[in-house]
């Protein structure tokens, strides 16, 4: 279980608990958080779950895979702390993690 803070581009904050092993994309969909669509169902294949991982949390979310990097490279608003939320699994180590969303994704 991890408490995750999702911050929409307009600043709206949603704090939810995501069960261990569930992706942070799923966590957003299951809680009806806008701004994360998850069109490919979590295959790092659509980039509609693009998020920015705040601060020191980034290092704890692991490395981008080759496909994740390829998708992010084509996404709007790529930053160093960009990740695909479907490629990060909730775990106790991520308790407290904060994500921000880009202005748009497609």
């Amino acid at each position: 279980m991890a408490r995750i803070t999702y911050i929409e581009h307009n600043g709206a904050e949603h704090v939810v608990e995501v069960p261990t092993g569930v992706s942070l994309m799923e966590g957003a969909l299951q809680n009806g958080i806008p701004g994360i669509d998850g069109d490919c169902g979590g295959n790092a294949a659509c980039a509609t779950c693009h998020v920015y991982v705040e601060g020191d949390w980034l290092a704890r979310t692991g490395e981008r895979s080759e496909n994740e990097s390829a998708m992010l490279d084509l996404a709007d608003g790529l930053e160093d702390n960009s990740r695909l939320a479907c490629q990060i699994s909730a775990s106790p180590e991520l308790d407290g993690l904060v994500l921000r969303m880009p202005a748009s994704q497609h």
Binding site: D37, N43, A45, A103
Partner: protein, 451 residues
Amino acid sequence: MASQPIASEPAIRHTLSREEAPFQWPLPPRKRPALADYSRETLMAYLETAPLDEVDISDPLYWETNSHWPYFRRLRDEAPVHFNAVNAERHRGFWSVSRWADIMAVDTNHQVYSSDAYLGGITLFDMDSDFIMPMFIAMDPPKHDVQRKAVNPIVSGPNLASFEGLIRTRTQEVLDGLPRGEVFDWVDRVSIELTSRMLATLFDWPQEHRRKLTYWSDVSTSDPEVPGNPQKEERQGILLGMLQEFTQLWNERVNSEPKTDLVSMLAHNPATRNMPPMEFMGNLVLLIVGGNDTTRNSISGGVYFLNKNPQEYAKLRADHGLVDSMVSEIIRYQTPLAHMRRTAIEDTILGGKHIAKGDKVVMWYHSGNRDERAIDNPDAFIIDRPRARQHMSFGFGIHRCVGNRLAELQLKILWEEILKRFDNIEVVAEPERVPSAFVRGYKSLMVRIPA
């Protein structure tokens, strides 16, 4: 079109190489099953029981009659990665991939499955090898990536928001001009009208000549073998004419300040400003077809599906808030592009089958969208489907449709405006369909709006 009954097939198990099957035109005659007639009913009955190895599903007949469904259901159940050798002298033979998970595996593996135009490109039938039009949908990284990025800003968030008002006013105009109590063709009066105006805007093309864009779009995907369509040379000539007209625009815009239309963007971006003419043409065709046929056929499809599913139409009337999820469901159910094709550039395994270097691999999106392993009750049209966005119609991976949000926006505005005006749009006859295993669409859809 010449056709012969199907005889026994040579036992090829992989795509023939260009040496084995050199490009020739006209293509050798197509073999067809010997059936009493080629009506939808007869073809569907045939596809229910025909040996899978006997069917060439690339035959436009199955698409014009919309009779292909039993074949794909059987492929998904019995042979999810299946090699088709029938009529290989025409298309060199291809693998059909019909399940959601296998399609996803191919679409996300651009390292093995290439889109390269020079290997044949992204449709089941190879690009004419004497008329290769490179375009970024038919390129691999790194060139694909830089060209895609050059185009991306026009269809990304902030720019879309700026189109919204314009799209709405136009939609209102077109809908307000429709007759009441009179039968008319929805495809021509609404679907083509709206998409051609949008295209003209994207290119900053003179609105009064917008139907030229529609014409070029139709010509570029038209099958020269279908009677009535332009022949191969004629088709190439028409496209070269398009190139000429756009080159004029390019020349004007390359010498003036950068603007936000597609031609100006291509002319000023370092990644695209030195494109050779055929590549400029290729990318024009990509943007014209990409933004046109697909959205057009989703606009028509929605009206048709609601008529076939009156309980869904009733739900929509009762709750206009369902437009968002309905738009995704329309796009899933229509699957405007039935397939994308790749070429394997090394030996690999897919669904337990050995795919050889050089093999054509066809991802049947419309079948993936009906795969019960991935989608609940997939044959039903349900406008408030949970997770309606999870469909394959826009593809996945690095080539995933760049215009998806624009298409969704156009459809969303259209349905919002329809609901404000018309309580009903009645389909009065079965639509006439496009004979193509690539573009799933409608030539006409006759409707009436009650007076």
